[in-house]
């Protein structure tokens, strides 16, 4: 038996002490030992998708999730800070440490039943054709061609109700930037989102939709998982695997989140297939605990670095009214920069305004006049995950000079859009920087060097820390997601993507998980 944090605890002996289909691990008074057909570690976009498909095929599936479980009706009642504390890893303050001319990057990932899928803005893209071609041609991964994934895309998009965002759902904040873009000759297209026709434009998707319109996996897949032979144990963190005869046959871990100071309990689950879906940041830790040392484990991490630009206009925009994200421009000269419309919840926007005391209040009083737009870069693989002190790994990221230049260019273009639409000031996400007041200021910004360490950079799509390859010398898993070094252990989450994709990652990850689930189903049923 191998374990991430050593093997101090005693092995459990009892069955799961609850008949509920969703077991709150923190409420169990003892550990458990369980046997299922399939055990899935992590209940996010990939894990839940795969678990539901296998349960629908008649297999008994147990999902183990480190984070807590909340019904979406409960989440809808959380204030943004409550959501941060309960649904986001590190309460939303997970950070990638910049190496060299690289900013600290604030990385958000989910930690709850539903994973990061609970927190998305609902934006749905497919992987661009050129990325599929690269995977096939340069990485030799013929299984990842666009044609091979087509059926999986269609299935995912059907289940999560992907539809185009109507123009009249755009907020006035978005409309301002669109107006500016048109004046600059940049065309904006409608985004597709997983909200069906239900979205009311409440503008708080990242913290829980008040009406459950967003089809996150807890809404689109969990009910079916539970209606078949699936169960979920929340607050259950896997920290090691069980091996027999050179094959991985189960996992072991610890129940979390009990009352402060209460003893924690251990569990063990054995299964015919063991699936790791802990997300790009945490899967390498579980694989390391399984003794895997493959080339590329914890390396080649990409982040899609993002920046948000805020502009103040004469009109009151009430940017919170409208779909949180509704349109995009895909790139300037095809250089890998994406512009997505977005809005930031008012309390977060207010907290992030520059200034202290009276200066801060002056901006807050004008908040309805501020519009927001985002830019994101299709980055090179500059990240690395190393085991940290305690539970969380340390993330190191070195931004390629080309990516930094693109991010800067993207911010400059957004500032130009804002001024073209009549903005009075533009706040760039650069600590301590005086707001831009004119188009000339923007040109000066573009011409001056940028100290990357002052940049307020965000990331929502970590990818690629256990990448798929056609050869064990080049990656961690094969094209069916099985670890080269650990037969019986499969990985299905964002970590297996061979490169960054340059677009929001939820649908691509779910489509890959669907394809892997179909293959596993054929093997197991």
């Amino acid at each position: 038996m191998r374990s991430l944090f050593g093997g101090l605890a005693r092995a459990p002996a009892a069955r799961i002490d609850s008949d509920a289909s969703i077991v709150h691990g923190r409420e169990l008074s003892r550990g458990f030992r369980h046997r299922a057909d399939v055990v899935v570690v992590g209940s996010g976009a990939s894990g839940m998708t795969l678990a539901a498909i296998l349960a629908e095929a008649g297999l008994e599936v147990l999902v183990l999730e480190e984070g807590p479980y909340y019904r979406h009706q409960d989440i809808a009642q959380f204030t943004p800070t409550q959501s941060l504390r309960r649904l986001f890893r590190e309460a939303g303050m997970l950070t990638a440490i910049g190496v060299g001319q690289t900013p600290l990057i604030s990385l958000t990932v989910g930690r709850a039943v539903g994973g990061s899928s609970l927190l998305t803005g609902g934006v749905c893209y497919r992987i661009p054709s050129r990325v599929h071609h690269e995977w096939v041609r340069e990485h030799g991964l013929t299984e990842l061609s666009e044609a091979r994934l087509e059926a999986a895309y269609v299935e995912v998009e059907r289940r999560i109700a992907v539809t185009e965002v109507p123009v009249d759902m755009r907020s006035l904040s978005t409309a301002k930037f669109v107006e500016g873009a048109e004046k600059l000759g940049i065309s904006m297209k409608p985004l597709r989102r997983n909200t069906g026709h239900e979205c009311e434009g409440n503008g708080r998707c990242n913290f829980g939709c008040p009406i459950g319109a967003k089809r996150s996996v807890d809404i689109a897949y969990l009910p079916s998982l539970l209606a078949h032979r699936g169960r979920v144990v929340s607050d259950a963190m896997v920290d090691g695997v069980i091996e027999r005869g050179g094959r991985v046959i189960g996992v072991r871990g610890q129940l979390l989140g009990g009352a402060f100071g209460a003893p924690s309990h251990r569990f063990e689950v054995e299964a015919s297939a063991v699936i790791v879906a802990c997300g790009t940041v945490h899967t390498p830790g579980v694989l390391r605990a399984a003794g895997i040392r493959s080339y590329g484990l914890g390396r080649f991490l990409t982040l899609h670095p993002c920046a948000r630009v805020v502009g103040r206009f004469d009109d009151a925009l009430h940017g919170w009214d409208g779909a949180l994200q509704s349109c995009f421009a895909d790139s300037l000269d095809d250089d890998g920069t994406l512009f997505n419309s977005v809005y930031t919840p008012v309390n977060m926007l207010a907290a992030s305004f520059p200034g202290v005391g009276p200066e801060l209040h002056a901006r807050v009083r004008e908040l309805t006049h501020y519009g927001v737009f985002g830019t994101m870069v299709h980055d090179e693989a500059g990240g690395r995950l190393v085991p940290g002190i305690g539970r969380e790994p340390t993330l190191l990221y070195e931004m390629a000079p080309r990516d930094l230049a693109r991010l800067k260019k993207g911010m400059g273009v957004l500032a130009e859009m804002a001024f073209a639409a009549g903005a009075r000031e533009v706040l760039l996400p650069i600590f301590g920087m005086t707001p831009l007041r004119t188009m000339d200021d923007t040109r000066r910004f573009a011409a001056e060097p940028l100290d990357a360490r002052r940049l307020e950079c965000l990331s929502f799509h970590p990818l690629g820390s256990a990448r798929m390859a056609n050869d064990r010398r080049r990656g961690v898993v094969d094209d069916s997601g099985e670890c080269f070094e650990a037969p019986g252990l499969f990985v299905v989450d964002g970590s297996v993507l061979p490169t960054s994709i340059g677009v929001n990652s939820q649908v691509p990850i779910m489509a890959m998980a669907t394809r892997l689930a179909w293959r596993l189903r054929d093997r197991l049923v």
Binding site: R71, R86, F260, V364
Partner: protein
């Protein structure tokens, strides 16, 4: 069982760090009398209950983090307390400065040319103020026209939905 009964939110700050956080939050949220000339005399100390709510939220926020991050954020709070000598040349702890001096110190930190100081500023300001404009009168002061951040939008365009021009 309701979700609140399962949460066991836990605090993350010692009393000493809470005192430092309170002093910083007071400065972040201080405002000026409407007729103030800008000489500093017209500063208004923010409502004590409002500051306390933010200290509590910051405390719980830190408590929700891993041990290492709790430690790191705690260190940032301590640094915030001891840096006035470096940043504005005042041999005093931040929490002992007058409100006006505290504001000047924090502003200098935000604009400091050494990026680590600017990072220290943002790394503490954001979590200290996450909850500041989230409820009640402070939320209303942003112009947000719903009762709470959880309240649904008043739909005025529902009839046109589902159609693109």
């Amino acid at each position: 069982m309701s979700h609140s009964a399962r949460d066991w939110e836990r605090p993350g700050l010692s009393e000493r760090k809470k005192r430092i956080a309170r002093a910083a939050i007071e400065a972040f949220l201080a405002d000026r009398e409407p007729a103030d000339t800008g000489d500093g005399s017209g500063l208004v100390v923010p409502d004590a209950a409002w500051c306390e709510r933010n200290v509590r939220s910051f405390d719980l926020h830190i408590g929700a983090c891993s041990t290492l991050l709790r430690f790191a954020l705690g260190m940032l709070v301590v640094l915030l307390e001891w840096l006035p000598i470096v940043i504005v040349g005042r041999a005093s702890r931040m929490s002992r400065l007058s409100l006006e001096e505290r504001i000047r110190y924090l502003e200098a930190l935000e604009r400091h040319r050494v990026s680590w100081f600017a990072l220290l500023f943002i790394g503490t300001k954001l979590p200290m103020l996450f909850a500041a404009f989230e409820e009640g009168a402070p939320l209303a002061s942003t112009g947000f026209d719903r009762r709470t951040t959880q309240t649904r939008r008043r739909l005025v365009i529902a009839a046109n939905r589902g159609q693109n021009p």
